[in-house]
Amino acid sequence: MANFEPILLRNRGVTGSTSLKVYESRGGYRAVRKALKMTPDEVVEEVKKANLRGRGGAGFPAGMKWSFLPKDRTRTLLCVNADESEPPTFCNRVLMETDPHQLIEGTIIAAYATKSQIAYIYMRVEFHEQFHIVQRAIDEAYAAGYLGTKIFGTDYSLECYVHRGAGAYVCGEETGLIESLEGKRGWPRIKPPFPAVEGLFRRPTVVNNVETLSCVPHIIERGAAWFTGIGPPHSTGPKLFCISGPVKKPGCYESPMTISVRDLLEREDMGGGMLPGKRAKAVLPGGASMGIISANEFDMKMDFEDPRKFGLLGLGTAAAVVIDDSIDMRVVLRNMARFYGTESCGQCTQCREGTAWMHKMATRIAMGAGRVEDLDVMLQTARNMGMMPGLSICGLPDGATYPIETIIKKFRGELESAIRAQPAGRAKRVLSVLN
């Protein structure tokens, strides 16, 4: 599949790809016209048949999500999750800055399928340029009559607004996003009730990722059978893979879910291999929350199933960051612990206290005052916070558990020898100053 024709990124590199004119000239807004001729249920059925699994991280089938909406609902809301805050993920950013109309088209189809009247695009505040690009694209769509009342001359009306976040990782969780949209702190809600039954403003709500919705127009246009033909049966459709770190060509690449981490890292049309003089030691293959793999596990397939075999949480956002051998593993451990320590929302006890405690321990270790037993305590704390299926309201502590656990398990030798290399009694002295 080396010369896979990009689908989601087909407009990348095309001049003026963010404009309505160029998008339409390249076949845009055909799918939505087709969808509007179908009944909403038919659209849902088509997406269900395509087995489009959510690209946000959990991999829940989108069509299934839509079919959970109560049948007798009067008002449905659609939220587009553009709060891409998982490090090191940026595929939604690429989608929005290269092809905002594709997202809008997908949003219209999804809104039509779910019979929503309003679609909110919840975008993280750090996406400044992307906000302007998407907002201008929406303005264009409004002007063209593709959004607003009676779109495309049908009886269906849809409002689409961009709602800017304000810097909180947990707002990427669907109920956290809903709370944030309601103007509250982004504390995830307890489920049940699920958003499909009672979500934003207590109405049935569907929350979908940008990449998921960007796939929808293609499914409608070319049919579910075409979509399921791409990639293995459990992981259908094209997927965006991100790679960053010391590789020759960091970026976002599109492929069916048949590639391995090694392909992503080394293939010429992808990462293109390591920068000269660098050697890959480990890869965080699916965003920070999924965990780490060491150099001898690079043959892991990047699909929805294979990562579990390597002790990871799942595919996640399929955004890999390469860690070369000049990087101290203690630094990576600290970085991960710090991320969850600062981004925990503070609602559930395990996560609030556990992530902060791990942050403290990891910082001390990274600063050269660790103890070997700290690694065990960290490992236990990570597990106590809850591994899948989790103990907390949202999945953040599970996400915090996997990187910590896999780093300590897979790189224990390196960490321990680094700790043992510290001057004797140093940890004790540091702790005596601290307390």
């Binding site: 320590g341 929302c345 609602q347 559930c348 395990q350 206290e353 556990g354 902060a356 403290k360 989790g390």
Partner: protein, 540 residues
């Protein structure tokens, strides 16, 4: 009534409650912080997690679910099977307790909550004795969040009960959560402090020592206090309360669960309104006027003096010239004894409902709620037993007057003997009312503080604070509740019930229960004493 199975034991429980509540009521001690039966469910403390039998999505076979579920968020359903005794559940409790104590300052010796602290109780029962954390704890300064309340932020477990009280019970929204993650704190907006009339409940619901009452701060350790069931006398709502006292002194009042009256709450007016009981200016001795002199007789002589003076006047002026004013601060039993006594001497004596004090308007909470959603009401009627007195007067029949009618008649000299009871915490005798003292030849005044009537009184009896008496009050909604004696009356004084008992001609020790038996035989409305269900420890 649904039947659920907890730890292989089938129990019957109330419908519509969470599994946690059912388990607590059935005797399980399930640790929890964020759950409170009177507040919405947030399921954030994750301490009450349980294992539950669930059908396998594929095979529909019942098996223990792999995920622990919060028992506070799971409503009871007939046939539900769950367990709290398994290793996974216990492990989670142990782990949670470790997390709760990570940043806790462990300053129990100086914390006022020590002794009634859920964190202490649960650590002993479910936690580990040692902490593995060697790093520095987070420290937060304390906050003066309101005129009556202090917030010790570092003791907080972030259960958010206090925030929910201000949101859902008082409806005033003063408290909020600031920051995120481990730095979460409770806070109020500067200049918008916690000062609503129900703010004291914030201290009650706080399971740890984060919210403390300035009034009680450092006064006593809670294990020295003894708790007595009582009823708040401050308004006609009649909240069920606990009087916490030690060494004959009342230190604080706490609400007692009563589903018919106040549920879990009480207002600040009642909570801090007990101070008058320890006022130094109280009347503590019976006083008899002889000519221009006043002397205080022996309690043993009192019944004879009273009977003699009254019967003399009845003989001279007739029974209709006698009146008894029954204050709405009297308990039903005391009022009944007084009526009994007066009517036995003067069968046509007038019985008068005492002055009903009103102040302001009824206040409904949460603010802006209507009849359906009101959770708490502070009534404008500032006395506990108006309805009880009226019920008794109705049962006695004959001449019954309102206080205004009595005053009018008294000023025209229609009464030659009267027994006026008071017991109001605030001054209550107005200038006009004071004049009646001149027109009544033999006036008995029974009050807690000296008032304008006393100068003309032939006899003065000390009334006792409600914490020093026992009896029952009937609230504005007609719920009859009993209250017990918490502390002894001051030296020299005697419980109102006791001397009324003696005067009425009974001998021995006054027991409210005995009088209630006698009374309810004559006054059927007094038969139904409502005793709220006893809640297990940690049930809220």
């Amino acid at each position: 009534m649904p039947k659920i199975t907890i730890d292989n034991k089938e129990i019957e429980c109330r419908a519509g409650v969470p599994v946690l509540q059912a388990a607590l009521e059935a005797g399980w001690d399930v640790p929890h912080y964020c759950y409170h039966p009177g507040l919405s469910i947030v399921a954030s403390c994750r301490l009450c997690l349980m294992e539950m039998m669930m059908p396998n999505p594929k095979t529909q076979e019942l098996s223990w679910s792999p995920k622990l579920v919060p028992s506070c968020q799971t409503p009871v359903k007939d046939g539900l099977i769950c367990r709290f005794g398994s290793d996974t559940v216990k492990h989670n409790q142990r782990v949670c307790m470790e997390f709760f104590l990570l940043n806790h300052p462990l300053d129990c010796p100086v914390c006022d909550q020590a002794g009634e602290c859920y964190l202490q109780d649960y650590s002993y029962k479910f936690g580990n004795p040692t902490s593995r954390m060697v790093d520095q704890k987070l420290k937060n300064p304390k906050k003066d969040i309101g005129p009556r309340t202090l917030l010790y932020q570092d003791r907080c477990v972030m259960c958010s009960r206090c925030v929910r009280v201000t949101d859902e019970v008082s409806g005033t929204f003063e408290l909020g959560i600031v920051n995120r993650g481990s730095r979460c704190e409770i806070d109020a907006f500067p200049g918008k402090p916690l000062d609503n009339p129900l703010q004291g409940n914030v201290v009650d619901v706080c399971p740890v020592g984060a919210m403390l009452d300035k009034d009680f701060l450092f006064k006593r350790r809670v294990w020295e206090l003894r708790s007595t069931s009582s009823v708040c006398p401050k308004c006609a709502t009649g909240c069920a309360i606990h009087v916490d006292h030690a060494d004959n002194k009342v230190y604080r009042l706490k609400p007692r669960f009563n589903p018919k009256v106040n549920t879990w709450w009480m207002c600040d007016e009642g909570r801090f309104g007990f101070k008058y009981v320890h006022d130094k200016k109280r009347i503590v001795k019976p006083i008899v006027r002889r000519g221009m002199d006043h002397e205080s007789p022996d309690w043993a002589d009192v019944p004879d003096i009273v009977r003699f003076r009254f019967s003399e006047l009845v003989k001279r002026d007739g029974a209709a010239k006698v009146a008894a004013v029954l204050s709405p601060f009297l308990s039903c039993e005391e009022a009944w004894l007084l009526c009994k006594f007066i009517r036995s001497l003067a069968p046509t004596a007038a019985l008068v409902t005492g002055l009903i004090p009103y102040s302001g308007e009824d206040r409904k909470f949460p603010i802006g709620s209507n009849n359906g959603t009101t959770k708490f009401t502070i009534l404008k009627e500032k006395c506990p037993n108006r309805r009880g007195i009226e019920t008794i007067l109705k049962a006695f029949g004959g001449t019954t007057l309102t206080f205004d009618e009595f005053c009018k008649k008294a000023t025209t000299g229609e009464f030659s003997a009267a027994w006026i009871t008071g017991g109001y915490p605030e001054p209550w005798v107005e200038k006009e009312t004071a004049k009646i003292a001149e027109k009544i030849e033999f006036l008995v005044v029974q009050d807690i503080f000296e008032n304008e009537l006393c100068t003309g009184a032939g006899m003065i009896f000390p009334s006792c604070g409600w914490a020093e008496r026992e009896g029952s009050f009937m609230n504005a909604a007609g719920v009859l509740q009993s209250f017990e004696r918490a502390i002894a009356p001051p030296d020299g004084a005697k419980q109102d019930g006791q001397y009324l008992y003696d005067i009425a001609g009974y001998s021995g020790l006054y027991r409210a229960t005995r009088i209630r038996e006698l009374m309810s035989a004559e006054v059927p409305a007094m038969k139904e004493l409502y005793v709220p269900p006893e809640m297990p420890a940690h049930a809220h």
